[in-house]
């Protein structure tokens, strides 16, 4: 088998290649992204999954160029392709506040966050905020923008969209705020939607209806989605393809079916073994030894080797495994010496 950095020749909305982001802090350098590569096929939902601190949010923020200024992008490419066969641009070629970047942000790529209050402005009504986005990118007509705002609120299943439109964010429940966020993100029918743990703060019944809504809208509008989560259940229900991250790298990339039925990377396998399976597991769970190393330390070789039950002495602790193709047809790749 051969080593290769990125695989497929499919029509990708975004291809991230060897992205490196470092934070320079008083306590030292945090290597948040250590060479992240993956692709998002057009019209699909790509799940980004991993434990806290592995770099999921920073990956999403990088695509939007919204990483805090202490974070420096020090390598790699983020190739964005608005339409099939269209012009491919490297997002990192643009200044973060350039007109090009502002057009991409919001119009071509939208993002929704875990805590909707952090991105809804408490001083403006829901309708004001949706209409602002619409007027910025689509139409100057007030009547038309109001109509579109109500349409999109209806689409996300808001009961009473006219009344909700004139409410302030604090007057809504958590689930309704998340719907309002989704409405805002979808108001410009973006090519790509980045959803960063959009349901983590919600109750299960609300989570289920938001996921259902997102799937429905996705098949209707055809938006590609990058879905960030740490919940394997949500991945299984929501995603078409999955990238598993560990310490600032993608360690396995496969279809959602392969991730659950044919996982190859020891970390993916360990992660799946450590979650209780409904109607199945009783007694002990297989847990992963130790914990994720602190972000200031650097681990030699394979970043998972201190916790890996099948690490190869003399190899895994010194040599960083390259990305290896294990199933070319399905685009299944893994970064592990066992397969190279």
């Amino acid at each position: 088998m051969t080593n290769q950095s990125t695989t497929t020749t499919t029509d990708d909305v975004v291809r991230v290649e060897d992205l490196k982001v470092n934070f320079y802090t008083q306590l030292g350098v945090v290597r948040a992204l250590n060479g992240v590569s993956f692709n998002i096929p057009r019209g699909k939902v790509l799940g980004i999954v991993g434990e806290s601190g592995c770099g999921k949010s920073i990956t999403g923020m990088s695509i939007m160029q919204l990483v805090a200024s202490a974070g420096k992008t020090e390598g790699g490419k983020i190739l964005f392709n608005e339409s099939a066969g269209g012009n491919q641009v490297n997002i990192l070629d643009y200044e973060r506040n350039s007109p090009e970047m502002r057009k991409i942000r919001g119009n071509n790529i939208s993002m929704i966050f875990q805590e909707p209050m952090s991105s809804l402005n408490p001083c403006y009504t829901i309708s004001d905020q949706i209409e602002e986005a619409i007027r910025l990118h689509q139409t100057n007509d007030n009547v038309e923008s109001r109509k579109r705002a109500i349409d999109v609120l209806t689409k996300v299943g808001m009961p009473n969209p006219d009344r909700i439109a004139d409410s302030f964010p604090h007057e809504l429940s958590g689930g309704m705020r998340q719907r309002a966020m989704i409405a805002m993100a979808l108001s410009c029918t973006p090519t790509l939607l980045i959803a960063d743990e959009p349901t983590t703060a919600l109750d299960v019944t609300t989570e289920a209806s938001i996921l259902d809504l997102m799937r429905e809208l996705q098949s209707e509008i055809g938006t590609s989605i990058m879905f960030i989560t740490h919940n394997m259940g949500v991945v299984a229900q929501m995603c078409d393809e999955v990238a598993v991250m560990y310490l600032g790298r993608v360690v396995e990339r496969a279809t959602v079916d392969d991730i659950f039925y044919e996982p190859r990377h020891p970390y993916t396998i360990a992660l799946l073994q450590s979650i209780p399976r409904l109607g199945r597991t009783k007694g002990r769970l297989a847990s992963i030894e130790g914990s994720v190393p602190d972000p200031y330390s650097r681990v030699s070789g394979c970043p998972f080797h201190p916790r890996c039950p099948v690490a190869i002495k003399g190899v895994c602790d010194t040599i960083l495994p390259e990305e290896t193709i294990v199933d070319a047809a399905k685009g299944h790749t893994v970064r592990c010496h066992l397969y190279s």
Binding site: D203, A208, Y261, L271, V310
Partner: protein
């Protein structure tokens, strides 16, 4: 089942909070956070308590230990030395004697430990308060407790901030164990942890239970975790227990429409088992202003006229299965399907 197996029997427990408003902070209403719940816990067993945010799980757990003064109800605890006592009516001195037997661990390992105390002081504090140990004996006991939860005793003089979330949760468990309790209320002890650390803490709780015959009231909102750890499960909705049964019964043959909706909504970790959710109408009502009759009626797809008028009591339908629904015996509801049994094995190097 003999009554001697019984560790805790709770009857009609209520906790209401006053709502105050205006300049004079006058009482203008009440939040019925826990509004008349009945349940029991046997020695050495785990009762899971689930329900959506704000339904009163934490309030119920705290009221058991009188961290909240109950508004009404009985909390009969079978104390090894005092016998059966009503915790709700105890005076301070008797409560102090009973306290070692009932402990609590909290959700947030980042705020539940005092940042100004060392780990040794945190774990040793209950022993000192109860005059159980001092001097070198105290240090030995603290070291033993830390060992028990997988923290190296050398770390005794460090402060909580030097530990990860999972380690802090272990320290909280060591502290709760210090006085050899019979019951530990675990209020979402793994909700803030990453999955790999969550598994370690769940395993630890299981080991300690087997070793010391501990009983747990395990509060949680992750229904997969609750299924894994519980012998029996109680489901709460707006301050009220709507269903309680042995775990398998509750998950495979639920009898309450709310339980059915909750189980249906679990994000199942199996891409070959995708489900469309049962769309519930509207939102969870506020415990300050609950609807009439069955609190679930505005959202229930099986509701009939009687549901608007009469609140169904929690009734035993046989084999320790309790349900609060007028139609518990008639409805045939859908439970969970076990996930596919996927064999996961670590790979080996092919050469």
């Amino acid at each position: 089942m003999t009554t001697d197996d019984m560790l805790l029997e709770v009857r009609g427990l209520k906790k209401h909070f006053p709502i105050r408003s205006g300049f004079l902070r006058r009482v203008t209403g009440t939040v019925k956070a826990v509004d008349g719940i009945d349940f029991h816990i046997k020695k050495g067993e785990t009762l899971g308590l689930v329900g959506e945010s704000g339904c009163g799980k934490s309030t119920a757990g705290r009221a058991l230990l009188r961290l909240h003064e109950p508004t009404a109800g009985e909390i009969i605890f079978n104390d090894p030395t005092l016998g059966k006592v009503d915790v709700a009516k105890l005076d301070r001195t008797t409560m102090l004697k009973l306290r070692p037997n009932m402990q609590i661990i909290f959700q947030d390992p980042f705020t539940s430990l005092n940042p100004r105390l060392t780990v040794g002081q945190i774990v040793g504090e209950p022993l000192e308060i109860q005059h159980r140990a001092s001097g070198s004996e105290l240090i030995d006991r603290v070291a033993e407790l830390l060992n028990e939860v997988g923290i190296r005793p050398e770390n005794m003089s460090r402060y909580p901030h030097a530990f990860s979330g999972g380690q802090r949760q272990r320290i909280g468990i060591a502290r709760a164990l210090a006085l050899n309790p019979k019951l530990i209320v675990c209020d979402e002890p793994v909700s803030a942890l990453d999955v790999s650390i969550q598994a370690q803490v769940l395993n630890l709780l299981g080991e300690l239970q087997a070793k010391y015959g501990l009983a747990y009231l395990f509060v949680g909102h992750d229904l997969s975790v609750i299924e894994h750890i519980s012998d029996r499960v109680a489901v709460m909705y707006v301050g009220y227990i709507v269903e309680m049964a042995k775990t398998d019964k509750l998950y495979f043959t639920p009898k309450h429409p709310y339980t059915e909706a909750l189980l249906n909504a679990i994000p199942k970790a199996d891409p070959r088992m995708r489900t469309r959710p049962i769309r519930l109408q509207g939102e969870v009502p506020s415990p300050a202003n609950p609807p009439s009759g069955c609190y679930f009626h505005p959202r229930c797809r099986y509701a009939k006229d009687i549901c608007k008028q009469e609140r169904p009591p929690l009734q035993d339908i046989g084999d320790e299965h309790f349900v609060a629904c007028h139609f518990a015996k008639e409805l045939s509801l859908v439970g969970v399907q076990p996930l596919n049994d996927i064999k996961l094995e670590m790979p080996v190097k092919k050469s």
